[in-house]
């Protein structure tokens, strides 16, 4: 696990090499490392210690599985103290310890290298450094919040700790984290050794009497405003919903005034509080465990070989089609982009060239790679170019007859065993498949806009869709490095259906006299990225209007306040949305949007406004309840898919763990009770299902 070698100059090299996957700090590896360290420290012939890794990466973090399972504070304290003890031995054991960083170093790995007396790193863009803990609801609790600012100063330490973004080692060197950069892997150990043999000191700056954190004086106006500024940013970004960033700031604020040992203990106490929080548990479950499973293709049926797409056809070169071609060409798939005219097809290809030009400008892409990339996208208006495609995705307008035509045209050209996919966001797949010769090979692949940024693909099974088509689709989604969830066919599938409840619940509240600003601010405070009225403007109220009309034409009655709002906005007021410059908001040129002042004339504001918490619940509970119905109805196959789909699909707040985890976040019995109350005051759409009610009575939870 930890290889122990001694070279001719008496330098011990401790090489991390965990069996199985990447190196992580877990109970066994920390123990093994501790033993190796003690060996080196107690051997009088050894003059210094190098810590490195036998893998492509260095150390990628802590043991999330163990952490996720822990439920009481004492256990976390024990786990944390064990790591602190080893790290303090490295720092104070009397022999210089150098990290030779050969690959990516994250989280606990970063904390380990910060406990070394010196850091040497391979100067390669793949050698990324970072503290991703906050993205999983955690924070660096193995000394990260204490050693980093003591090494590089408070201000410089804030961003890496708070934002969870990686940096390359050149940046690490500029910040003062990395001491020495080397150009090749071969130079790494010699450079580390050189530092030891040239008299590198076996003492950390913070263990020297009179140590002061670098940078501005801690009790100063500058630092007061630095903390005030950081706290404001944290609150703006997380609306107070995430405990971790606040804990980081508190660890800095309180810990930097203490000596390192007291500070580590303080950090650990905050870590206990955060690691045991529901937010952290839910985020780890969904964003780590469930997400990793989805990315590993858990949705793929058994018994199908890997069947990667070789030639992709994309019909319809609008924003979605162009984005799908981009994402596919990016991983080297030849992508035929077809539209009615060649100019439309080429405009779709231009979308990619614009994105690539931006990347070249930022230095993230070479011209050569961009040219190769672009050569993979073949714009055309000739259906014959679709010959031999093994997957065709149509992304034309949401019009059944048009989609039927496209299906038939494409199927005539497809290779044997090819799959045809519709990128519809609302039309049921089974109906669309009726135009197909091979409904078993007909599937829904619902991409999200903008495709180049949105990770989710909602895979929709029609009634006749085969496991073969599903397997191939999952392969494709993974091939283009996106995350699949699988749902069964129904109107709006899963994501569009739930997203619609969010928007229309905003309309319900508006119609009930809730102040527009209160609706929008409550949504954001609950963690939604955009308020329901603003998002309605962005997707276009007119589109919602059309969907309502279509649904009615399909014989589904949906009278009520939400419909009144949409119809008033379109039929009476002609306020179609952001694109037209007027919707629920006005869009003055050169200024930020403002809620249209006339709105209150049509939807009068009630004298008594509800508490913001109530508005938040109205907007969030309904999404969760409707998702639960999707699960009961079999539209969803798992709660995990709902959680992932909600976070990646429409930005449901991650701190909840996702839209079904949200029920547990609230507490299932309370959730059911709230819904019961709302069903009386706001409407039957809030009636919890019988099954949910029973679960509440039995004290069950979603997970």
């Amino acid at each position: 696990m930890i290889q122990y070698t001694i070279d001719q100059d008496g330098v011990a090299i401790l090489t991390w090499n965990l069996p199985g996957g990447a190196n992580i700090l877990n109970a066994a590896s920390v123990l093994a490392f501790s033993d190796a360290l003690e060996n080196a420290l107690s051997d009088p012939t050894i003059c210094g210690i190098i810590v490195t890794s036998a893998k492509e990466t260095f150390i990628l973090g802590g043991d999330l599985k163990a952490l996720y399972a822990l439920e009481d504070a004492d256990q976390v304290m024990v786990m944390g103290r064990a790591i602190h003890k080893v790290f303090r031995r490295m720092e104070t054991g009397g022999k210089p310890v150098v990290a030779a960083i050969n690959g990516m170093t994250l989280g606990g790995g970063m904390e380990l290298v910060l406990a070394c007396h010196h850091r040497v790193a391979l100067n390669d863009p793949v050698v990324q450094l970072g503290f991703p803990e906050v993205t999983l609801g955690l924070f660096p609790g193995a000394g990260g919040t204490q050693r980093l600012p003591r090494l590089i100063g408070l201000q410089a330490a804030m961003q890496p700790l708070l934002l969870g973004r990686n940096m390359d080692v050149a940046r690490g060197k500029a910040l003062g984290i990395i001491g020495t950069l080397v150009a090749t892997r071969e130079e790494l150990i010699p450079a580390a050794k050189d530092w030891i043999l040239k008299g590198g000191k076996a003492v950390q700056p913070w263990d020297i009497k009179g140590f002061k954190t670098p940078g501005a004086e801690l009790a100063s106006v500058d630092v007061t405003f630095l903390y005030a500024g950081a706290a404001g940013m944290v609150r703006q970004q997380g609306f107070g919903n995430y405990p971790a960033p606040n804990a980081i700031l508190s660890c800095l604020y309180e810990g930097l005034l203490m000596n390192i040992d007291e500070a580590l203990e303080l950090e650990l106490r905050y870590f206990v509080k955060v690691a045991l929080s529901t937010q952290a548990k839910h985020m780890i479950r969904t964003l780590w465990f469930s997400m990793n499973k989805a990315k590993a293709g858990i949705a793929k049926p058994h018994g199908f070989e890997a069947n990667n797409v070789r030639k992709l056809g994309v019909v319809g070169a609008g924003m979605m089609g162009a984005g799908i071609a981009y994402a596919s060409a990016k991983v080297g798939i030849t992508s035929v982009l077809k539209d009615v005219t060649i100019s439309a097809a080429e405009a779709g290809k231009d979308f990619s060239s614009k994105l690539l030009a931006e990347q070249i400008e930022k230095g993230r892409m070479t011209q050569e790679k961009a040219d190769k990339f672009m050569s993979k996208i073949i714009p055309t208006c000739d259906a014959a170019d679709l010959d031999g495609c093994d997957l065709i995705v149509e992304a034309v307008f949401e019009d059944r007859s048009l989609k039927a035509l496209v299906t038939q045209e494409a199927e005539a050209r497809m290779a044997d065993g090819a799959v045809f996919a519709s990128n519809t966001s609302t039309l049921p797949i089974t109906g669309l498949a009726s135009a197909s010769k091979m409904p078993a090979n007909f599937i829904g692949l619902h991409f999200f806009s903008p495709v180049d940024k949105m990770q989710l693909v909602e895979v929709i099974m029609g009634q006749e869709t085969s496991d073969y088509a599903l397997a191939k689709s999952i392969d494709f989604v993974l091939q283009i490095k996106k995350v699949p969830i699988v749902v069964n066919d129904s109107r709006g599938f899963f994501t569009s259906r739930i997203f619609k409840t969010y928007v229309t619940e905003g309309f319900e509240l508006l119609a009930a006299g809730v102040k527009p600003a209160l609706i929008e601010n409550a949504a954001k405070a609950a963690g939604m990225p955009v308020g329901p009225l603003a998002i309605a403007d962005e997707v276009s109220i007119e589109l919602l209007y059309k969907i309502f009309k279509q649904t009615e034409a399909d014989g589904i009655v949906q009278d009520g306040p939400a419909k009144d709002v949409i119809f008033t906005m379109i039929e009476r007021l002609d306020r179609k949305g952001k694109k037209e410059g007027k919707g629920f908001y006005d869009y003055p040129e050169g200024d930020k949007k403002r809620i249209w002042p006339g709105l209150v004339d049509y939807f009068p504001v009630a004298a008594q406004q509800p508490d913001v918490e109530l508005v938040k619940q109205r907007l969030m509970h309904l999404q969760a309840l409707e998702s639960w119905r999707c699960l009961e109805e079999g539209v969803l196959r798992s709660a995990e898919d709902a959680d992932i789909g909600s976070i990646l699909g429409w930005g449901f707040p991650p701190y909840t763990g996702g839209v079904l985890s949200y029920i547990d976040f609230v507490g299932l019995p309370k959730f059911v009770q709230d819904c019961d109350t709302f069903s009386l005051s706001a409407g039957k759409r809030y009636s919890p299902t019988e099954k949910l009610k029973n679960m509440a009575v039995n004290g069950q939870s979603v997970y």
Binding site: S220, V223, T224, A228, A231, G232, V234, R235, A522, Q609
Partner: protein, 403 residues
């Protein structure tokens, strides 16, 4: 009440621009405070051994302003060794809090003669240099939604529907009034000049009044809190507490907010018997006072409720008050006060306020006692109310009545 608390005198320094080029920048805080203690003693031929305590408000108690500057200044001024000293911090309300505490000691019968006042050298001890836990501690700001005061001021203006032009007009009027008061000598009775160690006059008049100020001239100034609010996240923090507000209109800037200045003030407060012993005639009595807490995010709306509380304690009505001094921390603070209580501007801050004169945090409250008393005497009116908004969401008020 065991006995009445009387004001025998009030003295203040002029207010010097609170920057490195300000005329009082070279003067230590203890020297500023000692200046007014000396003047109070000398002009009243005060037997300082009768003074029981010196209560001094001071906000940024760090460096030279730390270590109980009240006792330090009493020693420096050669007050009797029998005089005690205490320094307190109720942010912007500190100076008035000192007056109220002194009055309470008298009223309770536990003491008979005290000096109350405040000192702040903002140029030498910048705001926030004490670490300012309320805003510096991320738990307080982030978890408890404490925002910088300017954001609170802009929030009040937004909620009151008060626009940029309105606050600028108010600011210009503050300068106009202060300029007249200065040129006519209305401040002369309270102000004592400050001398440097060489014995030369450092400053003998308030330094930040600009009589040429107009609302049009102020219109070009950039709002001070827009970036902090919009990019620094604090608008979001405030709106989370006031979710019915769509967006905060940033109307305050350096020209319609209180200026940073240096200065000190003291008030001699005693019982009737103490006055007799000293051979001094009381100038006013302290009728009542009020202190309140308010919601901390909006923070600056305390003057209204604090004043109501003081009025109630005194059994008085708003109409019973002749003149008001409402500290101009930001233009919206007195504007909100006038709107809330229905008091017209011709009774409020009649000689201008902190927008023109500056706001030496800990010293302001006691300064305003002197200012309103001088003006009551000049106009031959009876009653005055002094009130200030306070960080953290507080308000303080004191009612005095000439005797």
């Amino acid at each position: 009440m065991m006995q009445e608390a009387y004001i025998y005198d009030a003295v203040r320094t002029p207010r010097g621009r609170g920057r490195k080029d300000g005329s009082l920048h070279g003067i230590k805080s203890v020297s500023l405070l000692s200046t007014v203690l000396n003047a109070l003693r000398d002009r009243n031929h005060l037997d300082t051994s009768l003074v029981e305590d010196v209560i001094i408000g001071c906000v940024t108690q760090v460096g030279e302003q730390s270590g109980d500057v009240a006792k330090s200044a009493a020693i420096k001024s050669g007050y009797s060794d029998a005089v005690a000293g205490v320094t307190l911090n109720r942010f912007c309300g500190s100076g008035l809090e000192s007056v109220n505490q002194a009055a309470a000691y008298i009223m309770s019968g536990q003491m008979d003669l005290l000096v109350a006042g405040g000192v702040e050298s903002m140029s030498r001890n910048p705001m926030g240099s004490d670490g300012f836990g309320l805003l510096g501690d991320p738990e307080m700001t982030s978890t408890h939604r404490i925002v910088p005061q300017g954001i609170s001021a802009d929030l009040i203006a937004t909620m009151d529907g008060v626009g940029r032009r309105d606050v600028d007009l108010f600011a210009a009027e503050s300068h106009r009034r202060a300029a007249i008061a200065q040129s006519q000598g209305y401040f002369a009775r309270s102000i004592v000049p400050v001398y440097d160690v060489a014995g030369l006059i450092a400053l003998d008049r308030d330094e930040t009044i600009r009589k040429e100020t107009t609302a049009d001239g102020l219109a070009s100034l950039r709002p001070s809190f827009a970036i902090m609010g919009e990019q620094g996240g604090y608008d979001t923090v405030a709106i989370q507490r006031y979710p019915e507000v769509e967006r905060i209109d940033h109307v305050h800037h350096a020209g319609n907010s209180s200026g940073l200045v240096d200065g000190a003030s003291v008030v001699l407060i005693g019982s009737k018997s103490a006055g007799k012993k000293l051979g001094l005639n009381p100038r006013a009595r302290i009728r009542s006072f009020g202190i309140v807490g308010t919601e901390p995010t909006i923070m600056l709306v305390g003057p209204g409720p604090a004043s109501r509380k003081a009025l109630q304690k005194a059994g008085m009505q708003l109409a019973d008050i002749d003149l008001f001094e409402v500290n101009e921390a930001f233009a919206i603070v007195p504007m909100h006060f006038m709107r809330e209580l229905g008091v017209s501007h011709d009774r409020v801050n009649v000689n201008g306020g902190a927008i023109a004169l500056g706001h030496p945090l800990g010293a302001t409250g006691a300064m305003l006692i002197g200012t309103v008393l001088d003006e009551l005497e000049r106009r031959n009116l009876q009653t005055g109310l002094v009130t200030l908004c306070i960080g953290g969401g507080m308000g303080i008020a004191t009612i005095i009545e000439r005797v």
